[in-house]
């Protein structure tokens, strides 16, 4: 149908799927790490929460104020980190997130950079809490 095609010319089907049914939305009770990025001027604000056990990210959640691409990349990055070790999670880049979504329009690549940044900050926040790490 014409209408669907029109939407696809804007965002990939995968982006639209994650945008319509975002995974892992919400805040987390007592997270092990929080990443907060963005500013109101650019129009994207992202909060990412992780729960870590034995060096493995066992859960991730997000809250995002932003466009379709920002919401889809938030959803995708939380999916991607689950079950990964901290070391593996740090290797996730904005490019891999965008690729997992079958690409983003060039002007929206900064949204995936934001998701990468939020993840990195959440991990740094976790690593800065030595006590919990030893538990």
């Amino acid at each position: 149908m014409k209408r669907r095609e029109d939407l696809r010319s804007l965002y990939s089907e995968k982006v639209m799927e994650h945008f319509q049914n975002p995974r892992n939305v919400g805040e987390m009770e007592s997270p092990d790490g929080i990443g907060h990025v963005g500013n109101p001027v650019c129009g994207d604000i992202m909060e990412l929460y992780i729960k870590v056990k034995d060096d493995i990210i066992i859960d991730a959640k997000f809250k995002t104020f932003g466009c379709g691409a920002a919401i889809a990349t938030s959803s995708m990055v939380t999916e991607m980190v689950k079950g990964k070790t901290i070391e593996e999670a740090l290797k996730i880049s904005n490019k891999t997130v965008a690729e997992a979504l079958d690409g983003l329009p060039p002007i929206k690549m900064h949204c995936s950079a934001l998701a990468e940044e939020a993840l990195r900050l959440a991990i740094e926040d976790y690593l800065a809490k030595p006590k919990r790490k030893e538990e």
């Binding site: 209408r3 939407l7 919400g26 907060h36 109101p40 129009g43 997000f62 104020f65 466009c67 920002a70």
Partner: protein, 389 residues
Amino acid sequence: MRRIYLDYAATTPTHPLVLKAMLPWFTDGFGNPSSIHSFGRESKGAIEEAREKVAGLVGAKSDEIVFTGSGTEADNFAIKGVAYAKEHKGKHIITTAIEHHAVIEPCKFLEKRGFKVTYLSVDRDGLVDLEEVEKAITDETILISVMHANNEIGTIEPIQEIARIAKDREICFHTDAVQTVGHLPVDVDELKVDLVSISAHKFCGPKGVGALYIRKGTRIVPFMHGGEQEHGQRASTQNVPGIVGFGKACQLAEQEMGQEKERLETLRDKLINGILNRIDHVHLNGHPTQRLPNNVNISLEFVEGESILLNLDLVGIAASTGSACSSSVLEASHVLLALGLPHESAHSSLRLSLGQETTEKDVDYVLEKLPQIVKKLRAMSPLYKPGRK
């Protein structure tokens, strides 16, 4: 799925009668209006008839109408044309911070070439302050340009009063009336304006054609140089079918304007009040009463405009936003920021503009769908803290 078009401020569908009037001028009436032979004379007759209709709609004489390729071209013509014609007299232009890019960008272009431009601020409703206009005038001022009504927030400016100030000081006055001509009564003598930009596709005419009204005696440099078309003001073989369609759209607007204005105002207010009643943390942008009959612009706090648009599109509703995320330059609307809105509110804006095919059922459909969309997006917004005031 039903599709509801609520972006009439962006463009309108060409009226069937307009299209019908245009069609013969693509085929049988293909002559060049500058040609002497009968083919040419027929085309010439058609554009002169259209010119009379356009002139008639705004109370002008037909030789004061110059056809252009768009509203943007008319704005460029007015700003640069007057600037070049009067630069020996002075190099100061006054306009507003909320003009369309078609006015702001030519002004910025002139600034790079030694002109000084004052961009008047507006109040929270988008109105220009008359005292500010007076204060901005200097001996160097050669042109004042203030839009009749704003395309984003719908606020209608006190053009008559501003034009009077300009006239008292013998300063040329231009208004971008792209959003009002065909929708509201515009009379060039009543408003006392020297230059008026008009666009056909904003009121059911075809795209690719507009006009600049130039009051007799106004000094202005031609926009295009070449042949002697349009009294030498705008060289180019005229877009005959487009111009004929433009004329027809003006004729239809003249007949339907009054009734349509009331009908749209009723629907507009139903939509505004419905949204304000159904969704919390919402405010109206633009003047509550002094606004275009078809314009609704609201900020839905804590949710971003593009994600609202995408969700509306998925249920068949076409709208627009002033959010940075939906613009190619990733900047929030300069109009909303000029109102003093914080960036978050500008990013949260939604414009619904109604038109001739909008029905009460469409309004009800939006009122049913929009609250669900906002609820869903707020649930994932880090800015939304339920329960807070």
